[in-house]
């Protein structure tokens, strides 16, 4: 490892550039590449830089090359662990013809014109869409850069660009005797007209040297020795830190605060009261938290003080009896249900869930006379800028968002609420202030994955084949709040995703959605969003149908997937690798699930063991995956491992419940994460594919719970229709 650099930035916001990039680089002489050039690249050991890098060669939003040869790739999407800073850099580097150890990456500033995600139409890291959205644009951007650098070299040598070649950041002429590094060409290339992105030639996949290889991640070396800077690590001259208490009941307000007691705590400077929260501003969080405790806040609970989970569920139960907005209607499901040889009905429920990112919510704000600076880790920099404009009245150009590595996102950081709150507090504070939520605040003032209540019905013919399928989903609409323009005629496309289009041939299908908003419980996207609920329901119910048809769950599904070869492919692969059909000891079982979600085909087989006390131990997860062309296969495997555990945590432990308007869970002792002693072995089997890339981050989270609950059924004969799994229900009488 190189030297540490823990220096605080040396001056105010505009020059707050972190310095870890400088200093630590070892110089890689081009002698190593043949000794034909005197130019050097700075191979940066710390490869993520925080603030904007200026360089003469900047042909588009993504590439910066300076005369010293430093190649900076600007990352339109943010790194929250999913490996996007490496995979997006690979797309650029492949076409730019640089090696990954020759580049550093930089967090993009907020700019939808330059950095919008083509699937989400905004600069937003969500929906497992980064590679899908940037697959073409970033390769084109890289190719534009390469074309210009080659053109600059060819001009200097007086030869045709077509005779020159670029590799490893060096352009070589046709004879192989002349070489110019990208650094040497940066100035000249910056003066050439930039070709249109769609006019440059892209490499054929067979010629890829980087895409599809298991590349080392660019962000991890700085994460093993404390150098990585997350939003919560922001340090500024004169900065204070604040602890915060938000009304325990949503919509409640501060009634009384003992300011004097708070101010008496050593290190406390100020108590800030806003409508819904109190912040204690201090030299360090130890003092701030102590001050907040001393403040002995009393609250006026407001209108939601009597909200309880039971009432929310009752309302869902009632309202889901009525038809909703139709997501899909083919054939005549009602009629086919009536004439079916066998009818199966079931109700499925999944709970509110918190995100509980390891990095608690935080935001640092420096309010100035007519502008402000924000240091935060966010999945949505432009949306955050817009919200801050709203709360400050400043034009958005006056709001500088400094994005960071995220200590987990999972959808939580798609919401600017924490930043808005920090700005409201910072308005009362002279100088920069970092607002840090406690874990309790983070869990109790999250925005939650909705509670969904689903009614399923199916009809089978005499052979057990499904002839009718109805699925009604009731729950909160995130789209109605977050993207109201896409909430049309009462239909939330996210709430029905993976329910409206199951992978199977189902002749008569009716899927509808009933919006039911829980009072006083804000809802939001959560890793896997619609599919993480719908795949559980659809795949559990499909298992019920197989059982009712007295057929093997894999064989039953295969028969319905004959026209869906990629789904059939992953199912066959997962079943084979898992040893489907081979015997297991008593008390153990295997379950399967399959889906097409986020542009990828996935199947999992889970092996579980259920004790006589009802305790569930998941021993093994085998995943078959076809996500099209892969960019970084090792990251895909890592996502399958981690995403499965995120889903398993929810399936086995996760529930947010409401009592008297308050969230009952508060920390990792009652909102349980899976720990190392509990996790299964997870195996990933990837199908080689030349199809367009699919998403991956949310795929395993969505698929895993049904595989596990179906395995519980195989082990015990008991069908889990409500998450999280309740061991009480699985206790055996023996």
């Amino acid at each position: 490892m190189d030297t540490l650099n823990l220096d605080a930035p040396t001056s105010g916001p505009s020059t707050s550039r972190r310095t870890f990039l400088k200093g630590g680089g070892l110089l890689l002489g081009f002698a190593l590449l043949g000794g034909m050039t005197t130019s050097v690249f700075a191979a940066n050991a710390a490869q993520v830089t925080e603030d904007e890098v200026k360089a003469p060669f900047a042909p588009n939003g993504f590439i910066r090359i300076d005369p010293k040869g430093t190649v900076t790739l600007v990352m339109p999407m943010v790194e929250m662990g999913q490996g996007t800073y490496t995979s997006l850099a690979m797309l650029l580097a492949e076409e730019l013809e640089v090696d990954l150890d020759q580049v550093q990456v930089q967090h993009a500033p907020p700019n939808d014109a330059l950095y919008a995600n083509s699937i989400l139409h905004i600069q937003s890291t969500g929906l497992s869409s980064s590679v899908r959205a940037f697959w073409t644009p970033l390769r084109q951007a890289g190719a534009v850069g390469r074309t210009l650098l080659i053109a600059a070299a060819a001009k200097q040598w007086g030869v045709e660009p077509g005779t020159c070649k670029a590799a490893h950041g060096v352009v070589t002429d046709g004879s192989g005797s002349k070489h110019l590094s990208y650094g040497e060409l940066a100035e000249a290339a910056s003066k050439l007209p930039v070709p249109a992105a769609d006019s440059v030639k892209l490499k054929e996949p067979k010629d890829f040297t980087l895409i599809g290889t298991p590349a080392k991640r660019l962000d991890t070396p700085m994460k093993v020795d404390g150098r990585a800077i997350y939003g919560i690590d922001t340090k500024l001259p004169g900065m204070k830190v604040a602890a915060i208490a938000i009304s325990p009941v949503l919509g409640g307000k501060v009634k009384t605060v003992d300011e004097k007691a708070a101010l008496a705590v050593k290190g406390v400077h100020q108590v800030v009261k806003i409508d819904e929260a109190v912040a204690v501003v201090a030299d360090h969080l130890g003092a701030a938290k102590k001050g907040l405790e001393a403040a002995a806040i009393e609250w006026d609970d407001g209108p939601h003080a009597t909200v309880n989970s039971a009432d929310i569920i009752k309302e869902l139960e009632e309202k889901s009896k009525q038809p909703g907005a139709v997501a899909r209607n083919e054939g005549d499901a009602e009629k086919a249900l009536g004439s079916a040889a066998q009818r199966i009905d079931a109700i499925y429920q999944v709970p509110f869930l918190a995100h509980a990112t390891m990095e608690p919510m935080n935001c640092t704000v420096h309010m100035q006379k007519d502008s402000c600076d924000i240091w935060v880790g966010t999945q949505v920099p432009t949306l955050t800028q817009m919200f801050v404009a709203g709360v400050t009245g400043f034009p958005k150009e006056a709001i500088r968002i400094h994005n960071h590595l995220l200590g987990g996102g999972f959808g939580r950081r798609l919401e600017p609420d924490g930043t808005v709150l920090a700005v409201k507090i910072a308005k009362h504070v002279d100088g920069p202030v970092k607002v840090v939520w406690s874990r309790e605040e983070d869990i109790q003032h999250d925005m939650y994955r909705p509670y969904y209540y689903d009614r399923m019905s199916a009809g089978l013919d005499a052979d057990g084949k499904p002839v009718a399928w109805t699925h009604r989903i009731a729950g909160s609409s995130i789209f109605a709040r977050y993207v109201p323009q896409l909430f049309v005629n009462g239909l939330d496309p996210d709430a029905v995703e993976a329910a409206a289009e199951p992978p199977y041939a189902l002749p008569n299908i009716h899927v509808d959605y009933v919006q039911v908003e829980p009072p006083g419980v804000p809802t939001a996207f959560w890793r896997g969003v619609g599919p993480t609920h719908n795949v559980f329901v659809v795949e559990s119910f499909m298992d019920e149908l197989a059982h009712a048809a007295k057929q093997d769950p894999v064989a039953y599904r295969k028969a319905l997937l004959t026209n869906n070869p990629r789904a059939l492919g992953v199912l066959t692969l997962a079943a084979e690798k898992a040893g489907w059909g081979t015997p297991l000891p008593d008390g153990q079982g295997r379950g399967v699930s399959v889906a097409f979600i986020f542009g990828s085909y996935v199947a999992q087989v889970a092996e579980v063991e259920v004790g006589t006390d009802g305790a569930v131990k998941v021993n093994r997860i085998v995943c078959g995956l076809d996500c099209g062309m892969s960019v970084n296969p090792d990251t895909i495997e890592a996502q399958i491992e981690g995403g499965s555990i995120f889903g398993l945590t929810a399936a086995l432990h996760g529930a947010i419940t409401i009592k008297d308007g308050r969230v009952e869970q508060s920390n990792f002792d009652n909102y349980l994460p899976m720990r190392i002693d509990e996790v299964p072995v997870i195996e990933t089997h990837l199908i080689k594919s030349s199809e367009a890339p699919g998403g991956i981050g949310e795929v395993p989270t969505s698929i895993v719970s049904a595989a596990v609950t179906n395995a519980i059924f195989a082990a015990t004969g008991k069908r889990v229709r409500t998450l999280p799994v309740d061991p009480e229900m699985l206790k055996s009488s023996s």
Binding site: M1, L6, E79, M80, G81, Q82, K216, R217, D219, T220, P221, K223, V224, D225, G226, R227, A228, Y230, I232, D233, K235, V265, K266, G267, H284, L285, G286, A287, K290, T357, M358, E359, P360, L405, L406, G407, G408, G409, F410, S438, R439, D634, T635, A638, E641, G642, G643, S644, I645, F646, T649, N667, F668, P673, M674, R675, I676, D677, V679, V681
Partner: protein
């Protein structure tokens, strides 16, 4: 009250209340941000440091309880043989995702290897189950500890 703390071999003088958790002294007063805040209640292990070589949750360890003990943080764990081997294994096996919990994971693992150079799965479970990773990197953490133990 003034305290003299020995952190990574360097003496630091700080003036804070007796009951101030070491975590905030390290992060906010001394500005060493590699040690992370996760739960404030010794439930997640993100804040793990070594005090005289013992893995300790700094979020509930008050500054007045430390005395002359030597504190080691993630910034200096690479100077120990166990820490260096673990950092290498962590990178070789690409353990890390978001990375926020990994300072604590590495500190717990380094204390484990110092005490138990060849840990069994059970040893790993018992030393590491106090460290939460929401990205779910546990499978690779286990493999990396084993690889480092072989180094």
């Amino acid at each position: 009250m003034a305290y003299n703390l020995k952190i990574n071999g360097t003496a630091h003088s700080v003036d804070v209340d007796d009951d101030t958790p070491l975590l905030w002294v390290i992060r906010d007063v001394l500005g060493m941000t590699g040690t992370k805040f996760g739960c404030g209640a010794a439930l997640c292990g993100a804040c793990t440091v070594h005090i005289d070589g013992v893995a300790t949750r700094s979020c509930i360890t008050t500054v007045d309880s430390i005395g002359d003990s030597a504190i080691t943080t993630i910034e200096a764990i690479g100077e120990t043989p166990q820490g260096a081997a673990l950092q290498k294994a962590w990178l070789d096996l690409e353990v890390i995702q978001c990375g926020y919990c990994q300072s604590g994971q590495l500190m717990s693992a380094a204390a484990l290897l110092k005490e138990t150079p060849k840990p069994t799965d059970e040893d790993i479970n018992s030393a590491m189950s106090g460290n939460v990773c929401r990205c779910g990197t546990y499978q690779r953490i286990r493999a990396a500890i084993k690889q480092a133990a072989e180094a």
